[in-house]
């Protein structure tokens, strides 16, 4: 590549040349050009041949082929198979709404729907509030703060399997958590054998692993809350709690909506944490099965019921889509 000075010179020449006719012949200083890139773009369109007609498709080829073959096509196949009795080794035939009718009668489906929904209800409020408090804690520049920020992010980096197994050990009947509880005077809590405690333990793992991720999102948002507002509130005699509710929360409200939507989509898709803590059959009598666990159990293996699993997948997709639409609504509001 040429030297930077050369490039800047050429850039000035190029942009003035392409705008010939609309702008005076005197070369404009470079700064206004940089400030108005939109004007430059408009001026260039169609005048200079920048590439051959097929080039863009050559660039797009790997990405488009992979995405069409392994994302879009499977999606279409899922919609189609949801109306068939297809199995792993047989393509199956069209059966109309039979899969969806079966779903209504299937106790495991309702258990899965219940557990995935419960997951959203419990996990999302935790993801919206605790990381915000953590972000407030690490927001201020004090010595050593970078170390703490990184440390709080560590669980995000680890695989969900690693994290799940660490907590299986922590929450063991004779594990660290129960040992600590014993010191405080509690009996052994059966975290990993009671139906509801298993689900609660898995939620704890999900929250623990997600805290650092959402903390980073909140940190960016906190930087945009005007400092003067805090000072004004202090002058008016507002205490820390009052400032939190009246300045911080309104200031990061859009981010809270974003975090809420992102974490609810993630929570509804939960699989690994529950799979590891409850076992692949979903705990006692399968009562801890989540919707994705059900899809995995029904649709895989040599006797996998691909058709029925696809129908459940469609329900999963529609519900996450509703949650995703909330993300984009939040994002749009964020931009305004």
């Amino acid at each position: 590549m040429k030297s930077a000075a050369n490039a800047t010179n050429a850039a000035t020449t190029a942009s003035t040349a392409t705008r010939a006719g609309t702008v005076a012949t005197v070369p404009a200083p470079p700064t206004p050009d940089v400030a108005r890139p939109a004007a430059v773009r408009r001026g260039r369109a169609g005048r200079v041949r920048t590439h051959m007609a097929h080039s863009p498709w050559a660039f797009l080829l790997p990405g488009i082929v992979i995405t069409l073959a392994f994302n879009i096509y499977p999606f279409i196949a899922t919609v189609w198979k949801a109306f068939t009795d297809s199995r792993t080794l047989t393509p199956g035939t069209f059966v109309g709404l039979a899969n969806f009718q079966e779903m209504l009668q299937d106790e495991q489906f309702w258990i899965g729907l219940r557990n995935s929904s419960l997951y959203v209800l419990v996990v999302v409020p935790c993801m919206v509030f605790f990381p915000l408090l953590m972000a407030l804690l690490v927001h201020k520049q004090i010595p050593g703060i970078a170390f703490f920020r990184s440390a709080f992010y560590t669980p995000v980096v680890a695989s969900v399997v690693v994290v799940g197994l660490i907590w299986v050990w922590m929450l063991d009947e004779r594990g660290l958590v129960n040992a600590v509880l014993k010191v405080v005077g509690f009996g052994a809590v059966p975290f990993l054998s009671d139906q509801w405690l298993i689900l609660l333990s898995a939620m704890l793992v999900t929250v623990w692993k997600g805290l650092g991720y959402y903390m980073i999102i909140y940190m960016a948002a906190l930087g945009n809350v005007p400092r003067e507002l805090y000072e004004a509130a202090s002058v008016d005699g507002a205490g820390p709690l009052r400032r939190f509710w009246s300045v911080t929360v309104p200031g990061v409200r859009n981010t809270m909506v974003l975090v809420g939507a992102l974490s609810s989509v993630a929570a509804f898709r939960v699989f690994s944490e529950v799979f590891l803590m409850a076992g692949q059959d979903g705990g006692p009598a399968g009562e801890d099965t989540t919707l994705v666990m059900l899809v995995q159990r029904v649709g895989t293996g040599l006797s996998g019921r691909v058709g029925y699993a696809s129908a459940i997948s469609m329900v999963l997709f529609v519900i996450t889509l509703i949650l995703l639409l909330a993300v984009f609504a939040a994002e749009r509001r964020d931009k305004k």
């Binding site: 490039a7 050429a10 850039a11 020449t13 190029a14 940089v34 890139p37 430059v40 920048t50 590439h51 863009p56 498709w57 660039f59 790997p62 990405g63 488009i64 995405t67 994302n71 096509y73 499977p74 999606f75 196949a77 899922t78 804690l137 990184s150 440390a151 992010y153 560590t154 980096v157 680890a158 695989s159 969900v160 399997v161 690693v162 197994l165 660490i166 050990w169 922590m170 040992a179 623990w208 650092g212 991720y213 980073i216 999102i217 805090y230 205490g239 820390p240 974003l258 898709r269 690994s272 995995q296 649709g299 895989t300 996998g304 691909v306 997948s313 997709f317 996450t320 889509l321 994002e331």
Partner: protein, 275 residues
């Protein structure tokens, strides 16, 4: 002024508390993995530090499951995922951001739709696709669905959009063709985002569980996460071995994170707004 109301000592105390919550479980796992066979891991009260630290468990876990082969499989999958995402996504992102052509909107739409569809809801069909391509139970099948992730493409597109147009115009005037502009001007200008894409591709592949779990049947092809799940299912009574296995799986990423943390943080910001 605010320092008075949030006394610094109290702040550090809170920081330490959160530190213990976030990092403590890792340290406990590390400590367990270093405890020898004669040491009681269930001791009451629990011993936070191993009495006679030993690497014995790391050797033993390799005798029970081929943990180092699994680690190699994970590494292969992760590196392939990095290469394909960096190359495929930067090319597609460049075309979407920098080239004007008919159908650009539709191409962008393909990636947008792909991003909206959760992987869990199409994984059974992906599995069927892999079977029909006879790739089922191969590491190739583990990599393929995410090898040019839609999110990576959209991140790259945004990065290329932010490169000042003037530089490229200069190159056009000098007669540089589109490939030269992509390599010599485009790529060097978006190095930061390339790093973000690379790191998240590595982490995503290394940590992934559900997809390899359903697509890999033969235990010789297991990745590390699947191997750990297997270890957990079969040897769940030996906490020392599981602890050693989890440490093998997590240490490379912690080291990577320690070295490249600003890219990890950047990735969260850029990915969240898009994702």
């Amino acid at each position: 002024m605010r320092a008075r109301r949030w006394p610094v000592a109290g702040r550090y105390l809170l920081l330490l508390l959160v530190f213990v919550i976030c990092v403590g479980p890792f340290l406990w796992q590390l400590s367990t993995s270093l405890k020898g066979p004669t040491e009681n891991v269930y001791s009451d009260p629990p011993k936070l530090l191993p009495e006679h630290p030993t690497l014995e468990n790391y050797k033993k876990v390799g005798e029970i499951i081929p943990v180092w082969d699994y680690a190699l499989n994970s590494l292969k999958v992760a590196l392939a995922n990095v290469a394909s995402n960096v190359i495929g996504a930067s090319m597609a992102g460049y075309a979407l951001a920098r080239l004007k052509f008919k159908g650009r909107k539709y191409a962008a739409l393909v990636f947008l739709i792909a991003m909206l569809v959760p992987a869990e809801s199409i994984m059974i069909a992906q599995l069927t696709t892999m079977r029909s391509l006879d790739l089922h139970n191969t590491l190739t099948a583990v990599v393929l669905p995410g090898c040019v992730a839609a999110l990576s493409v959209l991140l790259m597109r945004n990065a290329f959009r932010n490169v000042p147009e003037e530089i490229e115009e200069a190159a056009i005037v000098d007669g540089a063709n589109v490939w030269q502009r992509y390599f010599r001007i485009g790529l060097p200008a978006v190095k930061g985002t390339l790093a973000v894409v690379a790191i998240f591709a590595f982490m995503g592949a290394w940590d992934d569980f559900l997809w390899p779990l359903i697509v890999l049947a033969d235990d010789s092809n297991y990745t590390l996460t699947i191997g750990l799940n297997f270890l957990h299912g079969t040897f769940s009574n030996n906490q020392r071995l599981i602890a050693a296995g989890t440490m093998i799986a997590v240490l490379p990423l912690i080291v990577m994170f320690a070295c490249l943390q600003r890219y990890f943080f950047r990735g969260v910001g850029e990915g969240a707004v898009k994702g």
